[in-house]
Symmetry: C2
């Protein structure tokens, strides 16, 4: 386990003749991919995959066989190194001694690098004559100097090169005085700064020189590109660093050739530059037969030390409150970082976005709750409750990325409860308090008994069904509210000022009769007219014009602008950072823009109105509900029954959202805390019940939006390398600030009143639509509309027949339709139970779909029994396969990968990742040339859960 | 020049063991690209480039060296062929005789093909048990039969295979009884139908069999893929058809290997399937060193027999009316096809689209002309004139794709003329008639003297400047009209029904004083109120609500919906034909939709109103203007002077549009006819002047829209091949019908009145934006906003420094700005002269930019003098280059391409393509591995025009 070799930066310079003078001109460079100098364009090409000709690789091989190879040369300056190389060639009889001077002269010519030229030079160029069509490029320092030149130091490209990097320089060119090629491959003992040879101040370790007789410049160029490409290859560079002799290098080339990918000339145009792929095979994967890396990959989030972790594990599972204890033990060390990691520019955007979502939600649910409970719980209670519950949860819960909110089912429950209380003479607030207390207790019991183990049955099927449903509700609500605006401010197509006629009482409208009443009705305003007993006649009387259409424009504008700006991240305009900024703040920009539009027109669109004084919505209630005295004693006990329903509702809603938030795709580092989450939901429920505030539970869509706005990506390093999704900025700061802001919104009312409601509905619509993205169910739905040959290359399509996929999707659609109908009727109260039913439906699918298919479509963790059966089957199959592939010969392109599943660890508990009690060894055939499985294989089916 | 070999369809079947039984299962197929059977998915993969391993190619080479090669075997059935092959192997001592039976048994197993399974089977699958996870695929007939099976005949894939195609079958597999591989390559003397071996009823010509000892299935598979890829390679298949012996085949492989493109393993993941490229190198290009094809490519539209042709050529140039004569001579043979080629479904969409554009234009200009000339020319005249001039032009002109219309400069001219006449007591209509007659005469003189030669100075610079300007005017007008709607129907933010108060005359509004007038003002409608001398007071009186916003929604909706539907062509949903239909009719769909939206709301939006009776707009004018009697005699002569201005205007407008329409990118087959076009414009001008109708000239934007809606593409043949742009449906039918429809619009008024004007403005906006697409100037403008590294890989960026490109673009922007300012002021009348100035500016650029740069950015045809200088320079340069590349050795990847420019031909006259008087031979270095010049090289700079 020696330290890895430094990264190699390769620069290729070609010999150019400028009149009588000669110089070395940089023509390409490599960190990982090739960047070429566009001669005419005087610019760097885009980084691309180096497509080589087989011919040049073979020629290179010959060059290394016949040329001079100097390994571990003790060089301190270019002239000395070149002297040594030439001396060696003369010694070996490869070079005539009389050419020494000439060669040395050529090899010590100046190096000219392709450095960016400022645009403003273009104006100065105008004066130049037509004949000089190539701008005079800058000449770098003479390469005799040992210290880096200012040009080298000024070159910003150094930022792209890792700090410990070393350079390899490739020099190719044709000269007239040589009769056969002069080839040298030099490795220096110590990486040495060779003055102006390299464009950046990076010490040189390797030097490849190819000078040949005139006439074959193209061929030399291709050979130069070949060695440069080899030098940046992870495996060959390793060989180059460790080679003891020429043969090692040749063997390295042969190894490279054996791995090479070949495109048939008739199916590919060699002039097409190939964009760097999203993922390249890692050196480790290529290197080792016994690939440890594979294991890490197989286990998904394994790198994140139990990101999917949580409660009752194998060792503490039996203990009372074991899950909760483990959750706390696991989350505590992260607590400080949960704060300092929150300070990042991205958090501001996330806070603004989520804050607006939260207050819209608070106002909507507050209004509806007010209607449902005769204002016992109104907008004020909704705001206070959201602020209090949300900030407490974000401060102490297991997964602070979850955002709490009121939800639809709870609203319906409250409505039914209020009606029941009213009808039966029971005091609503006290009754509700007791239900809340019972439910809180039940939640705590669920925590203590580690009941969250149920989430292992929440597979993709359930998860997607639930989150799609919630997204649909968001979209549906946003559109419904928009249509509401059309109903509230109807468009009067018959509007004519003519028809608008205030008339005295009892008068026939439109009749032209004389009127001798003392009042001049025409001079009255609408209000006065009504006051004096007049009536407004005609269709136009109650008409508020323009508002409906304006609301629509604001609504749709906000939505589509947010969508457009989000996509702007992938456009070509502006530097990457500017684009990222615009995309991150897309919602803020569009909200501001459409608030501006609204302000410009000055129409009386419905605005966001927030109560500005803190006091209960009803005057006959305070901030504390006394538990005794208003209801008979048996009500206190009987309330345990409705509480059970609330508990199921809270539990399911909370845990499914938590599962979605803790998805392994999110690459969370800090583990989940299902038990701790539920614990706090229970505690907050009790507090809210005492204070007469609404109950809170995890809100799926807003939580997803929260995560989406906190995603991190690598900043690209080598040109052409794709940024990788790193994970989510896991912290408590954004959540806490959002809810604190919600609390003090009461004081922000004068500012917030400029925000039109349609703009917020637009934000709602965007949240709903955005949370549908990346749901596999949704992708599968789209497949119905695509002819098979146009379907994207999803990995499950390669492994499961389309009709099985369609069937699976259809079952999901039917389930969703049933749930939708349920939630639209009074049966909504049994909604949580139906989600349990969803899990049941999923279990039934086991009888229709094979485990193989489910492994690809759904993400399953089969039980013990199934596992054993599967193992048997697999062994049988493997046996068959094994017969035909016992040959381990690498040359055929077949590699044996031993995949070891990870041993169980406490942190690995009820995650959705493959977990196992005992290490298992699986032998899998894999070929480097097998063109399937671009994506990860599905979860290890043979693993066992220890829950 | 023997006939080309048939296309080869290659199918690869692998030997599968199903229990004790064995069968051949189709695993991949090739027409040009590879399609693989996705095992689990039971479907065909997307066609992709076959990425091979170098290893498998070498193994294949060894196989062919050691195995049996039977060329021109006289086989009539599979059993007989297999017998022959086995016999030969035994003869050669490659096979033990006792294995004969076993081998024969294996090779005659059934073949199972991957045929589509209907989706509705999925429901039947539900009943199946979990264990059987692969649906039972259909078994094809036993391969002993000679007649094609029903499955073969039912296979729709046959449509993708050319009719004369032959099959090559690759069979690979592992068997236990063999100790060393059994390899055979068979070419049949006659292509023979071998029963169920091939999935389609295509006769087999080649058979490759590889059976080997168990354990190396993957390796055999790769070898099978390698030979299959070779068989579909144009060059190797040629070798395979003509090979005399084993050595020829080996040489073919070596040739293939030498051309092969290599991807380094560290920069590319072999599991990524590479999408087929847009263009692959043609077999001819790969085959021949002396590449004739190159010449065709260099000369752009040369294939289209003088698509850019036109007037006064070398031979007839001196003749009077020579250009016109040649135009007629060239266009006459196409005349019949101009009609029967118009009958195509696509024409309907084009007609509807262009018709709507035309009538909107006619109405707009008619209204404006009516304002400008006190209704001497109004909407009625505009309609009749458009119909008459347009249909005559489309019927007889040289380029019937051009759409005539009134244009802005003419409108301004008419306005000034009318004001001048009125101010000086000259009869406008008579004066105008004489100007028209003079101008028509001048046009005819220009035709007779072949003055259209000027178009050779219209380079991309001028062309783009002009068409961008016209596009901007379209966009500007559309938006201006939209904003006009906001002004005409202002949004009254203070609207309150309260404020709307009809009051008696002289009464203070809002005062509550008693009114003893006999009339009851409240009962009056607005009209009555005004009639009795009352006034409407308050802000809301003249307010028409909702119209402005509704108009905006209709306008923007139509525009963005058209844009979206156009893009739908490239989505994945629905079969290609449905998508093409939706995209072709996108404008019709969006117009219909938004007319429907408008009708739903029933608001009184401004509608398209067309006069319904044919009579002059003014009663004091008839349909014929008498030339004498109203003005003094000298006016008849003096009108020649303003006529000159009109002539320049007409000429420039007409010819630039014609140049744009005849762009070589449009691949027009039937030549242009600049002289004939101008001839008809002149004639029509005279007719219009006599009838008192507006003057007509080619309308740039609508003509481009016309062309865009008539574009043709190949219907894809081999899976993975990209559709190619074939050209434009050149015919006279669409144009004629459009103008006939315009004429009878007078009778369609009851239908057309449902179309809201904002919808038509939306269509205008779309036309303007769409015509900006594909303009290089516009692409270059966008470069200003892109960081260099994100810029697209435009070919000119590779060859011209960015600052030079920016400078060129800036000059264009300044010119455009000057033109815009000019056309917005009264100086608009010298607008045509300014376009001449544009040509001058372009000439000046020759002193700032090198010819090399201009060749890439602008499309230039240098003059004689320049050409000679250039030639000298080039020779000097070539000489230099030649020194270093006199070596013609092909092995270095350097190929010499001799490029012969075409000899001059009458049809090649003043086209914008490179043309030459004498054949010129240029020697150009080209390497197959040089990764530049993906696009065509710029025009041949060394060519000479014969104009």
């Amino acid at each position: 386990d020696e330290p890895p070799n430094p990264t190699l930066f390769t620069e290729m310079d070609t010999l150019q003749r400028d009149g009588d003078d000669m110089e070395w001109k940089e023509s390409a460079r490599w960190i990982k991919f090739e960047e070429k100098v566009e001669e005419g364009g005087e610019r760097w090409s885009k980084p691309h995959v180096s497509t080589l000709s087989l011919h040049s690789l073979f020629e290179l091989r010959t060059c290394l066989q016949t040329g001079t190879v100097l390994l571990d040369l003790d060089g301190y300056s270019l002239p000395q190194i070149i002297d040594d190389v030439i001396e060696k060639q003369i010694e070996d009889g490869l070079l005539k001694p009389e050419l020494r001077e000439k060669l040395s002269y050529v090899l010590l010519r100046k190096h000219r690098h392709q450095t960016k030229k400022p645009i403003h030079r273009s104006l100065a160029d105008i004066g130049k004559s037509v004949s000089s069509n190539t701008g005079e490029p800058h000449r770098s320092m003479n390469d005799i100097s040992d210290t880096p030149s200012t040009d080298q130091l000024k070159n910003k490209f150094i930022k792209k090169i890792p700090k410990d990097a070393e350079a390899s320089n490739v020099l190719v060119g044709e000269v007239e005085f040589l009769e056969k090629p002069f080839v040298a491959f030099v490795r220096l003992l110590q990486a040495t700064m060779l003055g102006g040879v390299t464009e950046v101040p990076v010490p040189t370790r390797f030097l490849f020189i190819l000078l040949g007789p005139a006439g074959k410049a193209k061929s030399y160029n291709e050979i130069g590109r070949a060695i440069a490409t080899l030098m940046v290859d992870d495996l060959f560079s390793d060989v180059a660093y460790k080679a003891r002799d020429r043969e090692d290098l040749i063997a390295g080339i042969d190894e490279f050739l054996d791995e090479v990918i070949v495109l048939p000339p008739g199916e590919w145009d060699p002039n097409i530059r190939i964009e760097p792929p999203k993922k390249v095979p890692s050196a480790e994967k290529r290197k080792s037969v016994f690939s440890l890396n594979e294991v890490g990959q197989m286990n998904g989030a394994a790198g994140g030390a139990g990101a999917g972790g949580g409660g009752g594990g194998s060792d503490d599972g039996e203990m009372f409150c074991g899950g909760l204890y483990l959750d706390i033990k696991r989350k505590l060390p992260w607590f400080p970082s949960d704060f300092y990691e929150g300070f990042h520019i991205q958090s501001i955007s996330a806070i603004l976005f989520i804050y607006l979502g939260c207050i819209t939600n608070a106002i909507t649910f507050g209004g509806l709750l007010g209607d449902a409970t005769d204002n016992y719980q109104g907008v004020m209670e909704s705001f206070l409750g959201t602020a209090m519950a949300g900030s407490m949860f974000c401060l102490f819960a297991g997964q602070p990325l979850i955002i709490l909110s009121s939800t639809g089912p709870i609203l319906i429950f409250e409505k039914l409860l209020f009606d029941f209380s009213k009808g039966n003479g029971i005091d609503y607030m006290e009754f509700r308090l007791w239900i809340g207390l019972h439910s809180a207790l039940q939640c705590l019991i669920l925590v203590a008994t580690d009941a969250s183990f149920i989430i292992k049955y929440i597979t993709r099927f359930t998860e997607e069904g639930f989150s799609t449903l919630i997204s649909f509700i968001f979209i549906y609500d946003a559109i419904k509210k928009m249509i509401g605006a059309f109903k509230y401010y109807p468009i009067n197509s018959d509007f004519k000022p003519d028809y608008f006629t205030p008339g005295p009482p009892g008068q026939e409208p439109g009749s032209n009769a004389l009127n001798l009443t003392a009042l001049d009705w025409t001079q009255l305003s609408k209000k006065e007219c009504l006051k004096y007993g007049g009536s407004l006649v005609g269709k136009s009387c109650k008409f508020v014009p323009d508002l409906a259409l304006m609301s629509f424009i604001l609504f749709f504008g906000t939505y589509s602008m947010t969508l457009t700006l989000k996509k702007f991240k992938f456009s070509r305009y502006f530097p990457t950072k500017v684009r990222a900024f615009i995309a991150d703040f897309s919602n803020v920009f569009s909200i501001l823009l459409f608030c501006g539009v609204d302000a410009c027109f000055g129409l009386d669109t419905p605005k966001l109105h927030i109560p500005s004084i803190i006091k209960p919505t009803r005057v006959d209630r305070g901030w504390f509900v006394f538990p005794f005295g208003k209801n008979p004693w048996w009500v206190y006990l009987a309330s345990a029954l409705p509480a059970l329903l609330v508990t199921i509702l809270i539990f399911m809603d909370q845990q499914i959202t938590a599962v979605i938030v803790n998805r392994k795709e999110h690459k969370l580092r800090k583990a989940a805390g299902y038990h701790l989450d539920l614990f706090w939901v229970g505690i907050l429920m009790a507090v809210c019940s005492f204070m007469g505030l609404p109950w809170y539970v995890a809100a799926t869509v807003i939580s997803i939006a929260h995560i989406d706005s906190l995603k991190m990506e690598t900043e690209t390093s080598a040109p052409g390398e794709q940024p990788q999704f790193l994970g989510v900025r896991e912290q408590r700061v954004t959540g806490i600030i959002v809810f604190v802001l919600t609390g003090i919104s009461v004081f922000l009312a004068p500012i917030l009143k400029y925000i039109p409601m349609p703009v917020l509905y637009g934000v709602f619509l965007y949240m709903g639509v955005a949370s549908l993205n990346g749901i596999q169910f949704w992708d599968r739905c789209k497949l119905f509309l695509m002819p098979a040959k146009h379907q994207p290359d999803y990995v499950f399509l390669r492994h499961v027949p389309l009709r099985r996929i369609h069937l699976f999707t259809l079952v999901q659609i039917v389930c969703l339709a049933v749930l939708w109908i349920l939630k639209s009727t009074v049966a909504a109260i049994i909604f949580p139970v139906m989600i349990l039913a969803l899990i049941l439906v999923r279990r039934l699918l086991d009888f229709i779909f094979s485990q193989h298919d489910l492994a690809w479509i759904d993400n399953i963790i089969p039980e013990k029994e199934k596992k054993k059966e599967d193992d048997k089957k697999k062994k049988k199959k493997k046996g068959n396969k094994g017969d035909s592939s016992s040959d381990e010969e690498v040359g055929t392109g077949i590699t044996l990968h031993l995949k070891i599943s990870c041993p169980s660890s406490p942190a690995f508990n009820y995650s959705r990742n493959p977990i196992c009690a005992v290490p298992q060894v699986k032998i899998e055939m894999e070929s480097d040339y097998e063109d399937s499985d671009t994506e990860k294989a599905p979860r290890d089916m043979g693993s066992e859960t220890t829950l």
